[in-house]
């Protein structure tokens, strides 16, 4: 395998392996060849300036890019040795295993209970729904706050509670991976800390990939950090690329690349 980015890491039984993943928006190459392996049951942070392609890559892992008109993905992206961009792969099945938490909390305008049970029901869940609701809400550390108001609207909760409800909703599908796209950017510091603690509790059972603009957040929660950056090509167009992938401690204390060192120390742009 050709390792294009600095510090390409090989893991045993990686969850995802990207081999030359490129993303185009309406023909414009937005993210350059990514070679990246995601290790199992760890928290991986994606950091970098706006437009560097970190959210774009995140949306490749559950093919949410399919929903964006004009988006096109090239290259191979293996999920447990199966290329998820193979035409035979059904994105509905993939998303059942690779859950997603979005930037802004987006609970359904339905009851808390229905927020959790909607997707399991839609996927023919055979177990006990009441148990599933309690288990998911407990795992998302929100059970005690909502156990007496499961019939109330999920949208009536506070922002931080809504985001943990969204995490519970994703957990209810018993996923393998959780993708989080700046999950705390719309939350206050206390809610942010709660979500971060939750991620640390969940990491033994799930692989978590988290896009964040907050570098402290990456150092607090992530085991590995991928640094993305933008660069100008010959024609002056700005594109994104993966620059460095290292253990979080190494990336923040002793980065291999000058670009990462500049970004982390604030000497940037």
């Amino acid at each position: 395998m050709t390792a294009q980015s600095t510090n390409f890491q090989e893991f045993e039984n990686p969850v995802f392996t990207a081999e030359g993943v490129k993303v185009y928006y309406s023909g414009f190459l937005a993210l350059l060849d990514v070679y990246l392996q995601i290790p199992k049951n760890q928290i991986i942070a994606f950091i970098g300036p706006s437009g560097c392609g970190k959210s774009t890559l995140l949306r490749c892992y559950n093919r949410m890019n399919d929903l964006i008109p004009g988006a096109k993905v090239e290259g191979i992206l293996n999920y447990h040795n199966v290329n998820i961009y193979d035409p035979s792969i059904n994105s509905v099945k993939l998303r059942r295993q690779v859950g997603m938490v979005f930037q802004r909390p987006n609970p359904f305008p339905k009851s808390i209970y229905e927020n959790i049970t909607y997707a399991p029901k839609a996927n023919g869940y055979k177990g006990n729904l009441d148990q599933l609701v309690e288990e998911s809400l407990r795992k998302a550390a929100i059970w005690n706050e909502v156990k007496d108001k499961l019939k109330e609207k999920g949208t009536a909760l506070s922002g931080g509670q809504q985001q943990r409800l969204c995490i519970a909703r994703a957990i209810a599908m018993k996923p393998d991976v959780l993708l989080m796209d700046e999950p705390c950017s719309a939350l206050d510091p206390i809610s942010t800390r709660q979500v971060e603690e939750l991620c640390l509790q969940l990491k033994g059972q799930y692989t978590i990939i988290m896009v964040t603009h907050n570098m402290q957040q990456a150092t607090r929660v992530a085991d590995w950090t991928a640094f993305f950056n933008t660069f100008q090509d010959e024609s002056g167009k700005r594109r994104g690329k993966l620059v460095e992938f290292s253990p979080t401690e190494k990336l923040f204390n002793d980065p291999t690349t000058k670009e990462a060192a500049d970004y982390i120390s604030g000497r940037f742009g």
Binding site: M64, L94, R96, F102, F108, P109, Y118, A122
Partner: protein, 299 residues
């Protein structure tokens, strides 16, 4: 109050001519203009209702007016077949036009790729909403009366009115579906559910209030329409409640036929018929508004 040049914290007031009183005055002028607009609308409506009520109320409460078949004499008989015809027309329009219109809107918004031909179709549907109803009448005459051989019957009239309602239903349903936030769709897709599950469970419930607004507007227009039914061949005299494949009456036709009569007294029954037509439309709208409220609170 506007110019406090003496206080310490307005040292920079020389750099601004803030003219707050003047700006507030301009705002007040516009507020009053808008209020006048509202009052003009209300005044005209009130005048119309008063006028019709004055002419029609006595006939409306005459025994038999709502329950008997028409008579040659204004002081006898009633408009029962016309009421019956309009109610059935309204129900068929809803049953036919709403599923087709909402289905078309869902296809255009959720399934069809955003290409030049979808934009072309969209423009054409919007244009259809402005086509005069008599043109729809001619279309219905050609298709339902002759081509399909239904003749001048209730079903021809109902299907013609359904065609008349379709463009507005499609256009408003598309707007309503488009206003459903993408975050809701993403949340659903992100959990591993299919397109139809997402539409059924999230897009449609969210869009229903907006869709119903379009249904109210278009069905009201269809129920009040006389021109297309004249072309289809609605009659102004029946002695029975018509079946789907029989000749039929409708309230706008009844009103039209009454006001063309020179004898005194027919103006009064025409006014009474207008009151009944308004009531039928209000009743249908009331049901739609009730459903809309129910789903709006559910948000």
């Amino acid at each position: 109050m506007a110019q406090s040049t003496q206080s310490d914290n307005s040292l920079n007031s020389a750099e601004f001519t803030d003219n707050i009183d003047g700006r507030e005055k301009v705002g007040k002028v516009f507020e009053i203009l808008f209020l006048i607009g509202l009052l003009v609308g209300l005044f005209v409506l009130a005048l119309m209702l008063l006028n019709i009520g004055h002419d029609g109320l006595s006939s409306l409460f005459r025994p038999g007016f709502l329950t008997e078949t028409p008579s040659r004499f204004p002081e006898r008989g009633g408009i029962r077949p016309a009421i019956f015809g309009s109610v059935i027309l309204g129900l068929i329009v809803i049953l036919v036009a709403v599923p087709i219109g909402v289905g078309a809107a869902l296809y255009l918004e959720e399934y069809a790729p955003k290409k030049w031909w979808t934009a072309f179709i969209e423009i054409n549907i919007s244009n259809l909403a402005g086509v005069p109803s008599i043109v729809y009448g001619l279309l219905g005459l050609g298709v339902f009366n002759y081509l399909l051989g239904f003749g001048a019957t209730l079903i021809s009239g109902a299907l013609t009115l359904a065609l008349l309602s379709l463009p507005v239903i499609i256009v408003t349903a598309r707007e309503a579906i488009r206003s459903v936030p993408d975050s809701l769709r993403n949340a659903s897709y992100g959990l591993g559910t299919t397109k139809w599950q997402t539409i059924q469970n999230h897009v449609l419930p969210y869009a229903i209030p907006g869709i119903l607004t379009g249904v109210i507007i278009s069905v009201s227009r269809a129920l009040g329409d006389a021109a297309s039914l004249v072309v289809i061949g609605a009659v102004s005299f029946l002695t029975f409640d018509p079946g789907l494949f029989q000749r039929f009456m409708a309230l706008p036709i009844q009103i039209f036929s009454y006001i063309t009569r020179p004898e005194p007294g027919f103006a009064n029954v025409a006014a009474a018929s207008i009151l009944v037509l308004l009531f039928v439309i209000f009743a249908l709208n009331g049901v739609a508004i009730y459903i809309r409220q129910h789903f709006t609170i559910a948000k």
